[in-house]
């Protein structure tokens, strides 16, 4: 009896703990988000993967904000750290299609969403970001995804 039940129990425990880690561990992590608006009035939100503690998160968000300010002195930049992922941020970091154009780094290390009243303008900025990253290493390149496109 034990010889039959135990393998199923161990397998079930592994599956349950893996599912629990996926579902609940993000709630213990900190996620940096940097939002800025360009002079053309495109709102860009930049989402990075999680950090284990708040200070690392703030440090990471701060570095990104400094880089953005250096490249765009007139942009309004706000950096923040969120504990855990709500449904919206989880969707942005996932591969699900979004209602706005978005930019994604391979492996989901970095995701950007672009919104503006003119959808063509947002898409244009998105494609421009992709072109600008073309000279980077393959795993550092950014790819633009139009609104509602599979990512």
């Amino acid at each position: 009896m034990l010889y039959r039940v135990l393998p199923i129990l161990v397998l079930g425990l592994t599956a349950a703990l893996t599912a629990a880690a996926i579902e609940f561990l993000p709630e213990t992590l900190y996620f940096p988000v940097v939002e800025y608006s360009t002079p053309e009035n495109v709102q860009i939100a930049l989402f990075k993967n999680g950090e284990l503690d708040r200070s690392s998160c703030e440090q990471g968000a701060g570095k990104v904000a400094i880089a953005i300010r250096a490249g765009c002195p007139t942009c309004k930049v706000v950096e923040r750290c969120f504990r855990g992922l709500d449904a919206e941020r989880r969707k942005i970091l996932s591969r699900e299609p979004l209602s706005t154009p978005s930019v994604r780094m391979p492996g989901g290390k970095l995701t950007m969403t672009l919104s503006t009243r003119d959808p063509q303008l947002a898409l244009g900025v998105c494609q421009q970001i992709e072109r600008q990253s073309a000279s980077r290493r393959v795993d550092q390149r950014l790819r633009c995804f139009p609104a509602l496109a599979a990512r």
């Binding site: 161990v10 880690a21 561990l25 993000p26 993967n49």
Partner: protein, 221 residues
């Protein structure tokens, strides 16, 4: 058992319990870091398997830790250091693997690794059911067990451990870490020699048991 003996036995368990706890906590922290870098999860099978692999390692460590904490006291053991050092190296050497960087996530290798670690873990639990609380790191005689998985092979716990360790190795998959595995196997074989020798001394029935059983693999070895 006197109070002094109980305290001595508890103290002697502490180093290995601390050692194993360190790696257990390290693996748990590793899982958190892994999730931090992959919070998007959905549909990423390779990531799910990488996570399941780490979870299986945590389960294996937890099982080994609980076995070790609840074991019996030995009735016979070696007084010289050679078998003790062999046993320690056989057990601890493989943990060096966990201090080296893991190979990039790969669904196939991680699935195979999870499978082997879980097979090793399940077999270890079944062995412990047969063995009662006679687990030891050093070659020591506690009780002669010849039933269950011990009916056909003399070292099913080693077999379980080695299956799991090959599973661990698949998470690293490098030529640089291969010597760790080879040296570990060498010390484990030496450890079996010492263990068989002390069991033969402690239990007269062991000679007959050894005659009719294989060491690790029925009909092979």
């Amino acid at each position: 058992m006197t109070n002094a003996e109980k305290i001595y036995d508890a103290v002697m368990r502490l180093p290995y319990v601390a050692f194993l706890s360190f790696f257990l906590i390290r693996e748990l922290s590793g899982i958190r870091t892994l999730v931090a870098f992959h919070p998007y999860v959905g549909g990423d099978w390779s990531f799910v398997m990488a996570l399941a692999t780490r979870v299986s390692v945590v389960i294996f460590f937890s099982v080994m830790l609980s076995f070790f904490i609840s074991r019996f006291r030995p009735i016979s053991k070696y007084s010289n250091w050679n078998p003790k050092i062999t046993a320690l190296l056989g057990t601890l050497f493989t943990y060096l693997l966990l201090l080296t960087p893991r190979a990039p996530a790969d669904a196939f290798w991680n699935s195979l690794s999870t499978l082997l670690v879980l097979v090793g873990c399940t077999t270890a639990i079944l062995v412990m059911v047969d063995l009662g609380r006679s687990l030891s790191i050093m070659p020591e005689a506690r009780k002669l067990v010849t039933s269950g998985l011990y009916r056909r092979i003399r070292h099913p716990l080693y077999l379980a451990e080695e299956i799991a360790i090959i599973g661990f190795y698949l998470q690293f998959r490098s030529w640089q870490t291969m010597p760790i595995l080879v040296v570990h196997f060498y010390f484990q074989i030496r450890r079996m020699d010492w263990e068989e020798s002390i069991l033969a001394k402690a239990f007269p029935a062991y000679a007959e048991y050894k005659q009719r059983t294989y060491r690790l693999f029925p009909r092979l070895y």
